[in-house]
């Protein structure tokens, strides 16, 4: 039982390049999330998904796209990377329960640098 895994762990991009970050979870969770963490700031929600085939915008969605084609996977795409997207990206998942809080489980993070 690996929990939440993220691929890759590190990546360096040049401005304008594109890439996809992969998140996978084996806990059969309905909800999945992408966050970014910047120095001196907390984790900020980029996009999230409440189930296979669904996605929604979070607090900082601009410059990112996401897809949830399979329940266990949540992909985060950068179509044209910018230096402002240099950050550590965390994926998380949680069981579905709209009426009460469900703990979010986090992956180990992907450190992305855009030159």
């Amino acid at each position: 039982n690996a929990g939440v895994t993220q691929t890759p762990k590190f990546r360096v991009l040049k401005t304008g390049q594109s890439m996809t970050l992969l998140c996978a979870q084996d806990m059969n969770h309905e909800y999945m999330y992408w966050y970014r963490q910047d120095p001196g700031m907390g984790l900020r929600l980029i996009h999230y998904s409440v189930g296979e085939g669904t996605t929604a915008k979070g607090e900082v969605p601009d410059g990112y796209n996401v897809s949830r084609l399979k329940k266990q996977n949540f992909l985060l795409g950068l179509e044209s990377a910018a230096p402002s997207q240099t950050s550590v990206y965390f994926c998380a998942s949680s069981a579905s329960n709209y009426l009460a809080y469900n703990e979010q489980f986090f992956g180990p993070g992907t450190r992305l640098t855009v030159l």
């Binding site: 939440v4 907390g42 984790l43 929604a56 998380a92 329960n97 809080y101 180990p108």
Partner: protein
């Protein structure tokens, strides 16, 4: 505008003593509060939570206190151990759109000195 604030970026405590980490919030719609712990090069892990209808929740060495009138919560760790050295994030939960969402504070680096 930060809705969840952790005003102390760092805290150092002697082993065996109490660690108190503080968090303030502004949004009265938050109804669950959580603390996450993060070690370097790892993702955050859930530590303890509290519902807004309670004022205290205890789990072993960890206790979270909530003061709704002051919009303030705190995490007490007693006794503190060197393995507790990590970044602690306060987070608050509310429903937004089609799911519950978490709003995180900026974190407090706790260092427990042996």
């Amino acid at each position: 505008d930060q809705q969840v604030k952790q005003n102390s970026p760092s805290l150092s405590v002697q082993e065996g003593r109490i660690s108190i980490l503080n968090c303030d919030y502004t949004n009265s719609m938050f109804d669950y509060f959580l603390w996450y712990k993060k070690y370097p090069a790892e993702g955050p892990t859930f530590l303890i939570s509290i519902s807004s209808i309670k004022d205290k929740n205890e789990d072993g060495r960890f206790t979270v206190f909530l003061n709704k009138s002051a919009k303030h919560l705190s995490l007490h760790i007693v006794p503190s151990q060197p393995g507790d050295s990590a970044v602690y994030f306060c987070a608050a939960s509310t429903t937004s759109g089609s799911a519950r969402q978490l709003t995180f504070g900026s974190g407090t680096q706790l260092t427990v000195l042996p």
